[in-house]
Symmetry: none
Subunit: 226 residues, 2 copies
DNA sequence: TGAATAGTTCAGTCTGTATTTAACTATGAA
DNA sequence: TTCATAGTTAAATACAGACTGAACTATTCA
C-alpha cells in the first residue's frame, strides 16, 4: 500500500505532469498539442507524460480523427488535485489590497462547466436564500417562484430538462467545502452570465474574470460582493 | 497559482517525503530518528526532507528535550494524502489471501500510547457493544457494569482518574475513519495487554505484534478475529 | 565531567528521469 | 497524389535534486 502511494505521489509530483493535471482541472478535455502548448513543452515530451498518466488511469483519452482528447478519468482525480491545491501556503500578512487578496482564479473558477470556488458557493447561497432553489434531503430543487425567476433571467428550464445530463445537482467544492450548483442549470447560469458579459473566460479559460458590469449585476441580483 | 501547485506537487511527490507523509497519516507525531527508520534512510537525509516539509507548513514540530516530534500541520494535509491514496489503482481480481492483504502494522498499531488502526477500532466497537463504555454526545463514558469489568480486567479506574490526562476520549483514526479509545484508559488497556503478553511492542515500537495468547484472548474477550 | 544519543549543516557525488534529437505512422486537406 | 498536421517511439544527453560523508551543536544520562 505504501509503495503504491509513493508511486502515485511521484507520478503526480513531476512538474510537467502536475501542470497537465492543473490544466485539466476544470474538467474539459484537451488534445495533446494543446496541453503541450499550455504546459510549455515539446510534443514528444507531453506524449510521454500523458502515457504515464494514462497507464495509472488518472486520465483517459478519446480519439477523434487525428486528435486525441485527454481528460480526467474520474472525479477522484479532481478531488485529489484540489485537495493538494488546498495545501498551497496561505500568504501570512495580507499586504495586498482588498480585491487583490487572491488571484481571480481563487474566487471565480469553473468546475467542469459550472461556477465553482467562492463565487459558485456564494451564488448557490444566494439562490437558496432567495428561495429560488431549495434544498431537499441533500438535493437541490427549483421552487415555484424559482421557475419564474429562471424564466425572467432568460433561462429556458424546459430546454434544460431535455438534456440528458443531471438537471440540478449540488457539487462539493474542495476549496470551500461547500456545495455549489452543478448539472445543466449550473452550466446554463454560467453561459448566461458570459453571454451577458458579466463574466469572461480568460485566455487559458480555467479562471473566470468578472467584468465591471458583472460586479454591479452580481451585487444587485445576488448580493454578491466581489 | 499554477506555479504554487506545481511546487506543492513536487514537494509531496518525492519518494522519501511521500513515505514520511504516509507514516504520519495516522495522526501521531514521530521523532526524526523514528521517521528515518520507518522510511529507511539516513538521519541527515530525513532532516533535509523534514526541513522542506516544515517550510511548506505541511508538517509542524514540537521540541521535547533532545527529541523533535513531527506531525501534520492540519487536517487538510491528511485530506490531501488520503485523496491521493484514493487514486491508487484498484486491483482488478482480489488474488490475495484474507489476512495477508495488509502488513500487520496496518491492523495493529499504536496512536500515541493507545491502540489505533483496525485493532483499536475493533476494540472500541467491542467495548461499546458489551456496554462497557457508552457513547454520550460524542464522548465515551464508562457504564456501571463497565466499572466492574475494568476492575475484573485488572485496571484500577480510581488510579487512572487521578492522572492529569483526559480520562477517556475518542480519537479519530484516519485509516479507519472511526473512533477508538484514547486518554488514560486507552493507555491502560494497551499497557495491560502488553503486560499480559497479548501484545508485544516491536523494535521500532510503532507496530504492535499480537501473540498467540493474545489472539485467543482477544477473540474470547472482545470477539476480535485477528 | 565524559560518553551517548538526537538532530543539523554543508560540500561533493551520484543517479533517475525528464528532455532533446531524430525518425517514424496516421489522418485530413489541397 | 502530395503536403501539412497530430501524435508516437527510441536512443542519446543533460541536469535537478536526492543522498553520502564528515564535522558540527544540543540534550540527557551515568
Amino acid at each position: 500500500m505504501e509503495d503504491q502511494f509513493i508511486k502515485t505521489a511521484t507520478l503526480i509530483g513531476d512538474a510537467t505532469r502536475a501542470s497537465i493535471l492543473w490544466n485539466l482541472l476544470d474538467g474539459r478535455a484537451f488534445t495533446a498539442t494543446e496541453l503541450a502548448i499550455a504546459v510549455e513543452t515539446s510534443a514528444q515530451n507531453i506524449s510521454m507524460h500523458l502515457g504515464k498518466l494514462l497507464e495509472a488511469d488518472l486520465i483517459c483519452v478519446e480519439k477523434q480523427g487525428r486528435h486525441k482528447y485527454y481528460r480526467f478519468s474520474n472525479k477522484e482525480v479532481a478531488y485529489a488535485v484540489e485537495a493538494m491545491a488546498n495545501l498551497i501556503p496561505k500568504p501570512k500578512d495580507p499586504v495586498k489590497k482588498k480585491s487583490e487578496e487572491y488571484p481571480p482564479i481563487k474566487y471565480c473558477r469553473t468546475c467542469y462547466d459550472h461556477l465553482a470556488g467562492k463565487m459558485g458557493v456564494a451564488l448557490a447561497d444566494s439562490l437558496l436564500e432567495q428561495k429560488i432553489i431549495i434544498e431537499k434531503n441533500g438535493a437541490f430543487e427549483i421552487s415555484i417562484d424559482g421557475e419564474k425567476w429562471f424564466s425572467d433571467f432568460g433561462i429556458n428550464l424546459e430546454e434544460a430538462q431535455k438534456q440528458k445530463r443531471i438537471f440540478l445537482k449540488p457539487c462539493l467544492d474542495w476549496s470551500e467545502r461547500r456545495n455549489h450548483i452543478a448539472g445543466s442549470i449550473g452550466a446554463l447560469l454560467l453561459d448566461k452570465m458570459i453571454n451577458e458579459d458579466w463574466l469572461r473566460r480568460t485566455k487559458d479559460s480555467r479562471a473566470i474574470a468578472i467584468t465591471g458590469k458583472g460586479e454591479k449585476e452580481l451585487l444587485k441580483n445576488f448580493k454578491i460582493v466581489v
